[in-house]
Symmetry: C2
């Protein structure tokens, strides 16, 4: 096992927090439902195009460099899902200019940020025009006050301290074998491909080589059968998961931590959606005994406080987590942060601090979710076979969804419905879907 | 030649803009001087410690993962320069509590940001509290308006368009052979080491294996003798250079572009300090004919507008730049941006846009530099041998500088004096140095 370019570089996990998920298991009594998604078979015909086209350009440039294209980039499949959805949406709007199209595809936060937060950011911005208030470079690890506030707000009872918190996202590097939930947000797999950690895409099984896909479907309660999972260096685990919305229970996470301990793996736990948990499922992996020796946690203000555009997140690297030679992961992580990254915007950090102030926390209680962006139950719908369900839903209801296959082979047979959107739109979408499938 | 994980991941170039340089050649008549630095021999005794300690921890954790530490991290030398300087500074202050210590080591912007800029950021922050003004995810490539403003402000006459601009920093990845100016800002070399592009550190020559160090010293007018430079995939070139402050002339950059064309290399041109140029030296590599087929340019609002803490930069990847198979570099770059990066803070981008507004440009004319942060001539000082000049300067003048050796073997014999600081401090520093060395 080797971990090269370990934790190398910034921000694939930022992307992991990008899309919204429809929430299921562990989300609380009012909205609990068995699956985030509708058990429909999405069409295999939907070709998901790249953010960039795969076609080489016509021969028009006068000069070619001798630099070879990164072979890993060529491995990426014709699939950055979201641009294709955008294209289909545009085509649909052209076809039906008067239809009220509702997008439940790419989720996004929609509700204004409370003034207590934005005022803090505006104040920090204005202070930068004063001699007293101006500041240049901040600490690469993030501002001390914000790190302390994150530690005391989210990790008070689990022994995570200010120095374990890095106000940034970072990512593991090359030559690492990873495991991912299947389905999962595509950024884990795609960034792993770019880093050169994987083999080629295997069309027959719809998987990349050298990635362990941990099946998480209704059959196993959206939690992998760990007895079937082989040893890997890094286990990406997002809970509540995007796209399934399933939150792992305390028992399940205890199994995961014990599995990582037995195998010598490192869990990268993405808790970006933890604020949507309203039962007693853990909000942090560090609630599980022994996790500090096997896990890193990443999280974000994106969903919690509508900071998708403001950009602010953090990573917890406990001092107890060590490589096989005993060297602490946090020290290398810190070195990389110091060398390659200069920290988050001071203005965004002022906003983060305001979120965690007494007044901010009254608005954003740890267990409270803004109702307007809450998941809304759609309910299970009868299965259909071999039809392009994405296209059918779009055509008949003017609703834009996301085919589950875009999240891995485990997503086949599902569509993802994002519940991030204006509440009235989500409710209207539910009405249309009920009408179509009842 | 191969370029794997090409342009892989975010932000080593952010760090490249971190420290300030003392400006020399090409900086304009009032402040022109032959060298940024004082030709003194810095002590070889100065041990530059890491941002993170290299010492493994004592055996206290109950569990070790089986994940091997990234071997590239272990290659990094005991040298992240700046923490050691901070340590020496602290020790000096403890020793001389009443001394007026002036730090010319790590440079930083010091002057408040004009209100036209901060008001725009405050307004954008406040708008996020309104239904009309709220927005979630922005375009990964940066906001359209800002990309257009950067293109029209900086690249109007050189054929670089909005779509060539990415509001982010990115970096080349593994298995690339790089060339750097020697001396140069340590982030190029250190991030290359982390990416696994280099061999081991060779103590005798004070260089990493598999990096081409292009000597840039007073002997060659701070421009490399390209006839001695071997073929590499990527040539990092910063002009005006940090730490030498030397700006390459049009003739020199033409030579560099022709060299890259002949060798099939890609130049990564760091123009973060271009606003300090006041003669007719190019401010962008794209002023050189043929550069669009061989160069990427990175730049930043950090120095230009005091945005070191706000964080905002951009990268230009011309559509004409192609890999050896004809595939456009910009397409892979865009794919990586879409997959691994979600763009800069919307509030920071509002500030960037205000910098480039009519009113902002009146304050920050393209060729104007805020006088308070302008380089101040120190002048050449007599050489000394085998003394710890850094320590001598600190001890005798209470000035914190940076040993040139921290920037590569080409920095031996120099100290770097940052001119980013309050003007009165810089002038006082000059007086003390003149007194010491006259």
């Amino acid at each position: 096992m080797s971990l090269t370019a370990a934790i190398q570089s910034v921000s694939a996990l930022v992307s992991s927090a990008k899309s919204s998920s429809f929430l299921g298991q562990g989300v609380g009594p009012e909205t609990r439902f068995t699956s985030f998604s509708m058990p429909l078979l999405p069409s295999r015909k939907l070709s998901i195009c790249k953010c960039v086209s795969a076609a080489p350009p016509t021969e028009q440039t006068a000069h070619k460099t001798k630099v070879a294209r990164n072979a890993n980039m060529a491995k990426l499949q014709a699939g950055y899902l979201f641009p294709e959805i955008a294209r289909r949406r545009s085509a649909h709007i052209s076809k039906y200019p008067d239809a009220k199209v509702i997008s439940l595809g790419i989720g996004d936060t929609t509700e204004p940020i409370p003034e207590v937060i934005t005022s803090a950011m505006a104040l920090r911005a204005k202070e930068l025009s004063t001699f007293e208030g101006y500041s240049g470079y901040g600490a690469e690890q993030g501002e001390k006050k914000l790190r302390a506030a994150i530690a005391s707000t989210y990790y008070k009872d689990v022994g995570i301290e200010e120095n374990d918190i890095f106000v940034s996202y970072l990512l593991f590097g090359a030559n690492v074998k990873i495991a991912v939930q299947d389905p999962s947000y595509p950024a884990y797999v795609d960034s792993s491909v770019i880093m050169g950690q994987t083999g080629l895409y295997q069309k027959d099984v719809e998987k990349f080589g050298n990635i362990e896909y941990m099946r998480c479907t209704p059959d196993n309660g959206f939690f992998p059968d760990l007895s079937n999972v082989s040893e890997t260096d890094v286990i990406y685990f997002c809970s509540p998961n995007n796209p399934t919305g399933s939150a792992a229970s305390r028992d399940q996470l205890t199994k995961l931590v014990n599995f990582a301990r037995a195998n010598g793996s490192i869990i990268v736990y993405d808790s970006a959606y933890s604020m949507y948990i309203s039962d007693d499922s853990p909000r942090s992996i560090f609630e599980i005994p022994g996790a500090k020796e096997v896990a890193i946690e990443t999280s974000s203000f994106s969903k919690f406080a509508g900071f998708t555009g403001v950009r602010l997140g953090w990573t917890v690297v406990p001092k107890e987590l060590v490589f096989s030679d005993g060297f602490p992961v946090a020290r290398d992580f810190n070195r990389i942060v110091c060398t390659c990254f200069n920290g988050a915007s001071n203005i965004a950090q002022a906003g983060g601090l305001a979120c965690l102030s007494e007044e901010g926390l009254k608005l954003y209680g740890l267990q409270r979710v803004r109702r307007t962006e809450r998941a809304v139950c759609v309910g299970a719908l009868p299965g259909q076979e071999l039809v392009d369900v994405f296209a059918e839903i779009l055509e008949k209801t003017h609703l834009v969804t996301t085919p589950g296959s875009g999240f891995g082979p485990g997503g086949e047979g599902f569509v993802r419905v994002s519940a991030f959107g204006h509440r009235e739109n989500v409710l209207e979408a539910c009405r249309r879907l009920k009408q179509l499938y009842q």
